[in-house]
Symmetry: C2
Subunit: 259 residues, 2 copies
DNA sequence: GAACGTTGTTCGTATATAGGAACATGAAGG
DNA sequence: CCTTCATGTTCCTATATACGAACAACGTTC
């Protein structure tokens, strides 16, 4: 796939992303400034985006918001493949047995992207929701996914020595991260103690396909419901879920290894 | 908002939508044919879309799939506004009391768009999922939303006399639909009996803001769990939920009426 | 193995679009 | 009331992009 980048296309995507990042909406002029694109160039673009409902233009406050069409298309990403549906049912099984929250996600650049979540309706704080990203090094299954990379590759991914701390328990250095990854490689499990969310611990496993780690499954538990016996149960259920999910992905006709 | 449409922007959106509609992926040439756009014009566009992860290009099968970025942006549509979060918690309350599935959605063109859903993990067939669209006339809360329009306006929305049947119980004519809408206007509730999904009945209420119906809430029940006593409970809970949701939306600073 | 199909890719120019400058509008400030 | 600072909108042309045609690389078919 040879790649001739296209300025206008890149701009449209920038517009969508920028508007989405402004929760309270953004005016045309403001958008022109932050993207460094002339207003007159932006104008027909945002008009078309609004016309097609990718953006919403609020006339009275003269601000653009993200539109419903992105929501509709975005959800196709999951519903197009029944794989994720089946993966979710595996998560639900574990959820029923443990009453704890399960996550399934993949690596997306240096972050981890939540795809599916299985939880009971709880009043507790949530770690995250599908569609969100968190730094891979700050999450249990993020580290599980990272564990496929050598210390050198990790160094490349994080050129700066110090990792931005997500909570006060987040691993702070690349060296520290590499130590943890080594331990994951030997025992097969990844642990996280309040590194992404205060009050929450995680146990996670990597999901391998064709000997490459593509995804991870994590079980998140409030610290006060965590103990050694339950940890054993979690690990057993996760090992079971891991096998099922790897089977689901392996059976799929679609090629998961692309470059 | 004056509108000068932009061809390239419209094309990019067409590409995204078309690729999303092909579950099993689509090749560049195929895309060129269905969109009637030259391959050479498409090429830099899809390259950029793939580069930015709005599409995924599978090298080995030479097919484009919908990418993760759309999923990420799409979910912002919901999470950007805490309104929907709060609306969902209202749905969850009703769900806990009834153990039945709740939907919240809005009108999108002539269809109804599911935004939120509250359900127990059940083995039952699902009516739909957030992000999906169904014909408004085939669903309980779709008809609740439609009930704000006069028979003349409905005629305009559905120029053809016969409505495409979704199931064998779907209302078949515009006149029949108008009769149902009249009854909704008088009693305040909308009923659906296996019109969108065989085996499922719905009771729904319209959500009014500034005297305009903007959305609807629906409670979906398997037919065998439906009876007159429960219907009374459903109607009472829905009336309660309706008031809460209308209050949530009314308190919001954001203008929900834009044109 | 030659002929035809498919795929993606490249190139040059005809054409559509980008963007500076100017304009219309309204709100805030002196 | 005039000025200043926002907003969105329009116009014209320099410029970037679209697209036909030709190409390369595979797979099938006869």
């Amino acid at each position: 796939m040879a790649c001739a980048l296209h300025r206008t296309t890149a701009r449209i995507l920038e517009i969508l992303e920028k508007v989405a990042s402004f929760t309270q909406g953004i005016t045309l002029s403001e958008l022109s400034r932050v993207l460094d694109i002339p207003k007159s160039s932006l104008h027909p673009l945002v008009c078309t985006l609004a016309e097609k409902k990718y953006l919403i233009y609020n006339n009275v406050e003269e601000r653009y918001y993200i539109g419903e069409k992105l929501f509709i298309l975005g959800n196709r990403y999951l519903s197009n493949s029944d794989i994720l549906e089946r993966i979710k049912s595996v998560l639900l099984e574990v959820n029923e047995k443990t009453k704890e929250t399960l996550y399934f996600g993949v690596l997306s650049d240096c972050d981890v992207l939540y795809l599916e979540k299985a939880e009971l309706h709880s009043k507790f704080r949530v770690v995250s929701n599908p569609g969100n990203k968190l730094p891979a090094y700050a999450t249990g299954y993020g580290k599980a996914i990272l564990s496929q990379f050598s210390p050198e590759e990790i160094q490349e991914m994080y050129p700066i020595k110090d990792l931005a701390p997500y909570t006060k328990h987040t691993v702070k250095t690349v060296d520290g991260l590499n130590e943890q990854l080594e331990s994951i490689r030997t025992c097969g499990f990844s642990y996280e103690i309040e590194e992404s969310t205060i009050g929450i611990r995680c146990v996670a496993v990597p999901i391998k396909v064709q000997n490459r780690i593509l995804a991870g499954v994590s079980l998140a538990v409030p610290v006060f419901r965590y103990n050694k016996e339950r940890e054993e149960l979690f690990k057993q259920l996760l090992t079971d879920a891991k096998a099922k999910i790897e089977k689901i992905i392996a059976e799929d006709r679609r090629n998961w290894i692309y470059s």
